[in-house]
Symmetry: C2
Subunit: 250 residues, 2 copies
């Protein structure tokens, strides 16, 4: 059974430990899987490591901070790009076979998609629910063949697909040593897939019952503000002093 490498970018926020917990329990149903959890940070966080230990999925916990120049922009930031490129570097150094998949920590995955992507030869694709105003982003299959993409925002992209909608074989990645994700908000997937060229349309495998099923969803979690300051005088000698260490403060 070829290994699966799941690359999950993450960053510190009030929801982080919950999101990793929830995703981890899905991944725990999948055999022969290595979870690459890569945080946009300068150093690892013991609370994240503790959470990953508790979940019990085999993992590597790495860091990959966003370059300073992108942090300063007032436009959309290229979130998760450093993390995912760090994951690609890891695979180039440590993996020889199997399949890689970019799984954000707030999405939802039916475990069947993992077994289907496991045998990807070059690139595989499938629909992702809850993407844009069309409600789904999907390859269009007409008479058994890939015939474009259905997505609420095309934006001049050659591959208007969601991050959760494709997997790539590790062997194929090794054949494309310069492939990487661009720091270009909205064009991360497109840029990465273009960097895998040459890739013919008939080399893209169409999963999820030839793209008739939705097995992945772009769920998004509401952001919570940092927790109110903690009253040490009032609660310092209660259980709340322990909980305090688990919360994200301003």
């Amino acid at each position: 059974m070829p290994p699966l490498y799941i690359i999950t970018p993450t960053y510190r926020r009030p929801e982080q430990l919950a999101e990793l917990t929830r995703l981890g329990y899905t991944l725990k149903h999948v055999l022969n899987l290595l979870w690459l959890v890569i945080e946009d940070a300068n150093k690892t966080n013991p609370l994240v490591a503790h959470t990953l230990d508790r979940i019990g999925v085999p993992y590597e916990y790495l860091v990959a901070p966003m370059p300073e120049q992108y942090k300063l922009t007032k436009r959309a930031k290229p979130r998760g790009v450093s993390n995912r490129n760090r994951g690609l570097d890891y695979l180039r150094a440590n993996a020889t076979e199997g399949v890689l998949y970019f799984a954000d920590d707030d999405n939802t995955y039916d475990v069947n998609i993992f077994e289907q992507m496991r045998y990807t030869k070059k690139v595989s694709m499938w629909p992702v629910g809850l993407v844009t105003k069309t409600g789904v982003s999907s390859p269009i299959i007409r008479e058994g063949k890939l015939d474009g993409y259905y997505d609420g925002w095309i934006g001049g992209r050659k591959y208007p697909v969601d991050m959760a909608g494709f997997a790539v074989s590790v062997k194929f990645l090794h054949e494309r040593p310069h492939a990487k994700m661009p720091f270009k908000p909205g064009y991360e997937e497109d840029g990465f897939l273009r960097s895998l060229a040459p890739l013919q349309n008939n080399e893209i495998e169409l999963l999820a019952d030839e793209c008739r099923e939705i097995l992945t969803w772009h769920t998004q979690t509401k952001k919570n503000p940092a927790a109110l300051p903690f009253n040490q005088t009032r609660y310092g000698n209660t259980n709340l002093a322990f909980i305090e260490k688990l919360l994200v403060r301003p």
Copy 2:
């Protein structure tokens, strides 16, 4: 091992199948559990049943529509109350032992909490993360004893706790045949717990390492609008005709 009865209210929306899938994979790690999925609807939805079958957790799929009088209000609606009371009725008719827990489909649960709640004698409680501006809702434990509640909104409640923060033994429920949840937004938990009276503070078991850990989170998922109308002429003879049946339309 006493059985766990997990009561999950749900309702039709674009995120519904994703949310049930994600929660289901957490529950699938827990033994001797019956999942009571109860939809605010007049009849069951075959797509929900299909999703529950695919997840593979033992379940009952029931319906319990919100009474018409509450649907018409312009204020906050008592969401999930009919569903949860239907779950209580089910347990009164079908269960003799074990523990019940109200688990909304968008929350996040560390599986350890299920094993801890399994032996609840009357009522057990623990902290819930991501609740109100305090970032957590929790019993306060001072010198080993329950000494009030920490929550960003007290609102005159005797039990200012979140729905995800307590479990009740089925035997104790049988001893309180009139216990039920009120149709009163914001006061559902408080009303239900009050209806279990008499219940002394020292009868409330404090879990999650005496409320020093966060094992449940009130994550909330962003709502998606209904998907744009589908162009039957253009896509009727493609895979999208199958996906169309999976989407929630206006």
